[in-house]
C-alpha cells in the first residue's frame, strides 16, 4: 500500500488518539537499566539487531493516516546511540523510528511512542534485548523461559491493539463514573516544575516483606499501593474529606487472549475511595473494598465493556486522579536478572508511579512534579506504619526532554 509516496508494510489498525500527543510531547515512556559494567557497544548493537529480528515492526517507521497507525519501509539503520539523553522519537535523530535505544556508561535506555507500544510492550522488548545483551556479555545461553526470542514472526502475531478488539457477545457493564467531579480531591499543589518536563524520584520497597503483607490481605501489589497512597494523602491533608481517585493500569491481554502483543492493549481504570473507605475502617476491610472494585474491573465483561468504550471515545485520562499506576509488574530474565542493578521507568505524566520488581526490591519511580519529595516521604512514612522499611534511593531529579542530538 502506497500512502503519501511511501510504502506501508503493515497496518497496525485504528490508532490510539494519543498519537497526536506523542507527536508533541517532550518525553515518552522509557525504561532504563543500570548494569554492573559499562555497556559494550558492539555487543549491544548485536543484541539490538537480534531484538529487531524478534520484533521487526520496531525497525519500521510509524505514521498515522486516516486515524490508523501504519508502519512504513525504513531507510538508514536504527542503531543504539551513545547518549545520556533519550533522543527525539520519529525524528532524523533516530531515523524516524518510533522505538529508540540509547546507552551511556553502564546504562541502556529504551524509549517509544506510547501509541506504538504500551508499558507492557516496552518492557517485553527490553527484556528480550537485555537477555540477548547480558547473555552475550557473560557468554551464557540466551534462552530463558518467558523471554521472547522467536524470529521472523508475522507482525499480527505480536501486534494487536485494543482498537482491533471489539466484542459482540458479552454482558455490558456500567463503567465507573464520578457522580460529581467536585467531590473528587485535586491536589493543586502538585504542578510540574517549570524548569523541566518531568520530575522523578525513586523509592525501593523490599519485595519479601511487601509481598508477605499483600498475601496476608489477598491483594496485589498495586492494590496495596493504592491503599498506602490513599492513607498518605489523608495523612498529608488531615482536614480533607473529599473522595480520592486512583487510575490503575489494567491489562486487556488475557481477556482477549493476545498475550504476546506489544501494541497498546491496556488502560487505567478509576478506583474511587471515600475518606470512610480509607480511614474509617481497619486495613482488612479497606483492602477488601479495593479488591472488590478491582476484581470487578478485571472481569472479562467489564474489560470488554471498557474496550468497547475505548474504541468509540478513546479515553485519554482520568480527571483529578491523585495517583496513576502506570505499570506494576516484574522485570525478570532468569539468571541474567542479577546482573541488572537498577530498573527505572519514566514517562510524560504527573501524579503517577511505575512499580517494577527487580530481584529483592520493588523499584517505585514517583512522578509528582515539584511535590515528588513530599509524596515519597509521605508514602515511606505510611509504609513504615505497615512495618515495611522502604528507602528513598534517588532524590527528585529532572527528566530531560528528548534531544535532537546525542549528549555525551
Amino acid at each position: 500500500m502506497i500512502i503519501n509516496n511511501k510504502e506501508a508494510v503493515f497496518n497496525g489498525g485504528p490508532f490510539q488518539s494519543y498519537w497526536w500527543a506523542d507527536e508533541h510531547e517532550p518525553v515518552h515512556p522509557a525504561i532504563r537499566a543500570e548494569l554492573k559494567d559499562n555497556i559494550d557497544p558492539e555487543i549491544l548493537e548485536k543484541a539490538w539487531e537480534d531484538t529487531k529480528k524478534v520484533y521487526p515492526l520496531i525497525d519500521l517507521i510509524p505514521d498515522d493516516y486516516d486515524e490508523e497507525v501504519l508502519f512504513f519501509k525504513s531507510d538508514g539503520e536504527s542503531k543504539p546511540i551513545k547518549s545520556k539523553n533519550a533522543l527525539k522519537l520519529v525524528s532524523d535523530a533516530v531515523k524516524y523510528r518510533g522505538v529508540s535505544l540509547t546507552y551511556f556508561e553502564n546504562t541502556a535506555s529504551l524509549s517509544a511512542y506510547h501509541s506504538v507500544v504500551d508499558e507492557k510492550g516496552l518492557i517485553e522488548i527490553f527484556r528480550t534485548l537485555m537477555n540477548f545483551y547480558i547473555s552475550a556479555f557473560k557468554d551464557t545461553a540466551a534462552d530463558v523461559s518467558g523471554v521472547m526470542t522467536k524470529n521472523n514472526r508475522k507482525p499480527e502475531e505480536y501486534y494487536i491493539q485494543n482498537t482491533m478488539l471489539l466484542s459482540n457477545d458479552y454482558a455490558p457493564q456500567p463503567i465507573k463514573l464520578y457522580r460529581d467531579i467536585r467531590e473528587i480531591f485535586n491536589d493543586t499543589s502538585v504542578v510540574s516544575d517549570e524548569n523541566c518536563a518531568v520530575t522523578s524520584g525513586e523509592l525501593d520497597i523490599p519485595f519479601s516483606s511487601y509481598d508477605e503483607l499483600c498475601k496476608k490481605y489477598g491483594v496485589s501489589a498495586d492494590e496495596m499501593f493504592v491503599y498506602a497512597m490513599a492513607k498518605s494523602v489523608y495523612e498529608m491533608y488531615p482536614e480533607e474529606r473529599k473522595k480520592l481517585s486512583f487510575g490503575v493500569m489494567t491489562d486487556f491481554r488475557s481477556t482477549f487472549d493476545v498475550p504476546e502483543t506489544i501494541a497498546p492493549c491496556s488502560k487505567k481504570m478509576p478506583v474511587v475511595l471515600t475518606y470512610e473507605d480509607v480511614c474509617g475502617q481497619d486495613m482488612k476491610n479497606a483492602l477488601e473494598n479495593i479488591l472488590g472494585i478491582r476484581n470487578y474491573q478485571k472481569s472479562d465483561d467489564y474489560i470488554r465493556s471498557h474496550v468497547a468504550l475505548e474504541n468509540t471515545y478513546s479515553v485519554l485520562n482520568i480527571r483529578n486522579a491523585c495517583l496513576s499506576v502506570n505499570f506494576c509488574g516484574e522485570f525478570e530474565i532468569g539468571e541474567n536478572t542479577s546482573y541488572i542493578q537498577n530498573i527505572t521507568m519514566t514517562d510524560y505524566s504527573i501524579r503517577s508511579v511505575f512499580m517494577i520488581r527487580l530481584g529483592d526490591n520493588i523499584k517505585v519511580s514517583f512522578q509528582y512534579g515539584n511535590a515528588t519529595g513530599k509524596y515519597m516521604d509521605a508514602v515511606k512514612k505510611t509504609l513504615d506504619g505497615f512495618g515495611i522499611q522502604s528507602k528513598i534511593t534517588v532524590s527528585p531529579y529532572p527528566v530531560s526532554a528528548e534531544s535532537d542530538k546525542p549528549i555525551v
Binding site: 489498525g13 485504528p14 488518539s17 486516516d66 486515524e67 482498537t163 482491533m164 471489539l166 459482540n168 455490558p172 456500567p174 463503567i175 465507573k176 463514573l177 464520578y178 457522580r179 460529581d180 467531579i181 478509576p270 468497547a308 468504550l309 474504541n311 468509540t312 471515545y313 478513546s314 479515553v315 485519554l316 485520562n317 482520568i318 480527571r319
Partner: protein
C-alpha cells in the same frame, strides 16, 4: 484593571482555550431588507444588554470557573465588513461583539460562554428590538425574551452546573466495529488555510413532507442526507459512519431561559446496509430510536458524568449536525432575508428555519462543493428541490480591527 465581580457561572468550559486561539468564532449573521441604521442598532443592542446584562460583562477564568466582571468601558456595535474577534480591545474584552455592514448584522461570540441556542436567543432579542424600532411595529406577545433586570441565574445555567443527584446510569453508545469506519480526509482547510462554507435552501413544507414519508424528523433527515452523501462520494467504502448531533438539553432539564452552554452531543453510528439498502424508513426508525435514547434525562446525566470522569476524544467522527430550529421574532421576521451560521470546523452542517424555508449550511472545507451538490441531488431524490443560496466561499477570519 479595576473590575467588580458580578456573577460566577460555575466550571469553565474547555472551549475557553479554543476561544482564545481560534480565528473563527461562532458567528451568526442575518441580512435584512434594508441598510442597517446604526443609531437604531446601537439602541437595540443597549436594550438587549438590559435583558441579558451578562453579555455586557467581561468573562475570565478564576480557579477553573467562569467569572463575569462589570466593566465601565462600552461595547457598541462596530461598523465593519469583517467580523471582530471577541475578547479583544476593540470590543472592550467582551465575549460578544456586534458588527454591521450594509444590510448585514453579525454577532461573534465565545463558545465557552454560550451555545448555539443561546446565540439564537440573544440575537433574536436584538433583532426584535431593532426591527421594532425600524418598522414601528411590535408584537403584543413577542416570541423573544424582552424582560429586563433579571438576576443572572435566571438566564445563565450551564449544563455542567446542574445538580444531577441520583440517577440511573445508562449504557453509552459504542461502535460495533471500528476497523473500516471512515472519515473524509479532504474535509480540511484548503492550502491557504481557508475554510469553505455554503448554503442551500428548501421549502419547509416540502422538506417536512419528505421526512414524514420515511418517518424521519429533521435531525434524522440531516443524518440520512449526510450518510448518503458520504457513501455516494466514496463508492469504494462500506464501513460504518459516526455522526454527532448537537442538541439542546434545555427542555430535558427544564431550563428554557438559559443562554449558557446547555447542549449535549448525541452519537449516531450508521451502517452502510441501513442507508444504502432498499428501505430507508428502516434506517430512519433506527436513527430516531438512537436519538430518543440519548435525549433521556438519565442518559444525559450519565453522559455528563462520563465527561467529568474521563478526558476523551471521539474516534472517527465524520461530521457534526445541528438542527437549530426556527428564527422567529414575530411580525417583523419577514424583514430578515437570510441567515448564516459558521464556526471553525470543516465538518459541520447547520439547519435553521426562516420564513418558510430551511437554510442548510454546509461547511466541509475543501470538499464543500462536492457535498453540497451531492446533498442537492439526494434531496431531489426525496422529492425536495433546493436552491443554492450561497455558493461555496471562504469564511472571513475574525480580526481585532474593523474594516471597510
Amino acid at each position: 484593571m479595576n473590575r467588580t465581580e458580578y456573577f460566577n457561572g460555575g466550571p469553565m468550559s474547555p472551549f475557553w482555550w479554543y476561544d482564545k486561539e481560534t480565528e473563527y468564532h461562532n458567528k451568526f449573521s442575518v441580512s435584512l431588507d434594508h441598510e442597517i441604521v446604526p443609531d437604531k442598532l446601537s439602541e437595540a443592542w443597549d436594550k438587549t444588554k438590559k435583558v441579558y446584562p451578562l453579555i455586557d460583562c467581561v468573562p475570565d477564568m478564576v480557579n477553573g470557573e467562569i467569572v463575569f466582571y462589570k466593566d465601565d468601558r462600552e461595547n457598541p456595535p462596530i461598523k465593519s465588513s469583517r467580523p471582530i474577534k471577541p475578547g479583544t480591545d476593540i470590543c472592550a474584552q467582551r465575549a460578544f461583539v456586534i458588527t454591521y455592514y450594509e444590510n448585514k448584522i453579525t454577532m461573534s461570540s465565545f463558545h465557552s460562554v454560550i451555545d448555539g441556542g443561546g446565540i439564537n436567543m440573544i440575537f433574536s432579542t436584538l433583532l426584535y428590538f431593532y426591527l421594532e424600532s425600524y418598522t414601528g411595529e411590535s408584537d403584543e406577545q413577542p416570541p423573544v425574551e424582552t424582560r429586563e433586570n433579571r438576576a443572572p441565574d435566571e438566564y445563565y445555567k450551564a449544563l455542567a452546573t446542574i445538580e444531577t443527584g441520583e440517577f440511573e446510569q445508562k449504557p453509552l453508545i459504542t461502535y460495533k466495529k471500528r476497523k473500516g469506519m471512515f472519515i473524509d480526509l479532504d474535509m480540511a482547510p484548503d492550502e491557504n488555510g481557508d475554510i469553505m462554507s455554503s448554503r442551500i435552501k428548501v421549502p419547509v413544507d416540502k422538506f417536512i413532507a419528505a421526512c414524514k414519508n420515511i418517518g424521519a424528523n429533521p435531525s434524522t433527515m440531516m443524518t440520512i442526507l449526510m450518510s448518503k452523501a458520504s457513501y455516494k462520494l466514496h463508492p469504494e467504502r462500506d464501513g460504518d459512519l459516526a455522526f454527532v448531533l448537537t442538541m439542546s438539553a434545555r427542555k430535558t432539564f427544564n431550563i428554557p431561559d438559559t443562554i449558557a452552554n446547555c447542549s449535549t452531543n448525541l452519537l449516531i453510528p450508521v451502517e452502510y446496509s441501513d442507508i444504502m439498502g432498499d428501505d430507508i424508513s428502516k434506517a430512519s426508525k433506527k436513527i430516531r430510536s438512537v436519538i430518543d435514547y440519548q435525549r433521556g434525562e438519565d442518559f444525559i446525566k450519565t453522559f455528563a458524568a462520563f465527561f467529568e470522569t474521563y478526558d476523551w476524544i471521539l474516534a472517527k467522527r465524520y461530521a457534526v449536525l445541528t438542527y437549530i430550529g426556527k428564527l422567529d421574532i414575530g411580525k417583523n421576521t419577514k424583514h430578515i432575508k437570510g441567515f448564516e451560521m459558521t464556526d471553525d470546523a470543516t465538518c459541520t452542517m447547520f439547519m435553521m428555519e426562516l420564513n418558510g424555508e430551511f437554510v442548510i449550511s454546509l461547511q466541509f472545507g475543501k470538499v464543500t462543493e462536492k457535498y453540497m451538490n451531492s446533498i442537492i441531488n439526494i434531496l431531489s431524490d426525496f422529492g425536495v428541490e433546493s436552491e443554492i443560496e450561497t455558493a461555496p466561499y471562504a469564511i472571513i477570519k475574525d480580526s481585532d480591527t474593523a474594516a471597510g
